[in-house]
């Protein structure tokens, strides 16, 4: 039984790590401010969820799990506010987003 729970929690933790690294890679890979915020929001949502789920499985039915769940709820409620504030202030100060490049163009940019 403990083996199954350990395995599950490790799977969750590894998924969380992978998602966090993907978010970081995405921040560097995308080419302008607005799309980078989206890469960060991957880290905000599922990465946090998986890492906390893995830790909850490790600690079982204790007050520590309750605190971890509180942390997930807090992050899920506040991180949209933060990214909204960031994007809104960028939009109002006049940073123009690069919009809708055609599929051909972006494929070309990917090769170069």
């Amino acid at each position: 039984m403990t083996f199954i729970i350990d395995a599950l929690s490790w799977v969750c933790l590894m998924m969380g790590c992978f998602l966090g690294i993907s978010g970081a890679v995405g921040i560097f890979k995308f080419d302008e401010f607005y799309s980078r915020v989206h890469a960060a929001s991957v880290t905000d949502t599922l990465c946090v969820f998986f890492i906390m789920a893995g830790l909850v499985l490790q600690s079982g039915f204790t007050l520590v799990s309750v605190k971890l769940i509180f942390a997930v709820v807090l992050l899920w409620l506040t991180s949209p506010v933060a990214s909204h504030a960031l994007i809104r202030s960028a939009y109002h100060t006049g940073l123009k987003p690069k919009l809708k490049t055609s599929r051909k163009e972006s494929a070309k940019r990917g090769q170069s």
Partner: protein
């Protein structure tokens, strides 16, 4: 004033769960003082900006919304991950569009805008009366929002069928 009692109950539970010392009278007294202070400040805010919306009914219906939203979050996470790791096969197509939104009360609008921002791939830039300005990383995500499933679900939370 149901909000005052809801706030007191919620804050008390929060304190008890976070502290974990349920028998130490000093800690419990400090908790009671903090709850009283927080409630007093919240009531001062409410006397200026009255909270008339249908908050309680929305709160009671949350359980119908969050499972669906979590599923959407997983789906859109996968879509954004594809764009990050395979930019050649899944190129991004950023797009900004202004949409009408269905939810009417302030709290439902806040919930809607927050839900849009929470799902990766779409971000709310600005909210004005019934219009909402959205930036989407993928055109598909924008089309999903235009189709209006999320707006309808938030609208249902307000109690309108």
């Amino acid at each position: 004033m149901p909000y005052r009692y809801l706030l007191i109950i919620g804050l008390t539970l929060f304190w008890l769960l976070l502290s974990g010392y349920w028998t130490n009278p000093l800690i419990l007294a400090l908790g009671a003082a903090s709850v009283a202070l927080a409630t007093w400040i919240a009531m001062r805010i409410e006397s200026k900006y009255a909270f008339k919306d249908k908050g309680v009914s929305i709160l009671l219906r949350q359980h119908t919304f969050w499972p669906w939203l979590s599923l959407e979050i997983v789906k859109s996470n996968i879509a954004v991950l594809k764009c990050i790791w395979m930019p050649k096969t899944y190129p991004i197509s950023p797009i900004i569009r202004q949409l009408k939104m269905e939810p009417e009360s302030r709290i439902a609008r806040t919930l809607y805008a927050n839900a849009i921002t929470l799902t990766p791939g779409t971000v709310t830039i600005e909210v004005r009366d019934t219009d909402i300005l959205i930036y989407a990383l993928l055109e598909d995500a924008m089309e999903d929002l235009e189709e209006g499933e999320m707006g309808r679900r938030v609208h249902k939370l307000e109690g309108n069928k």
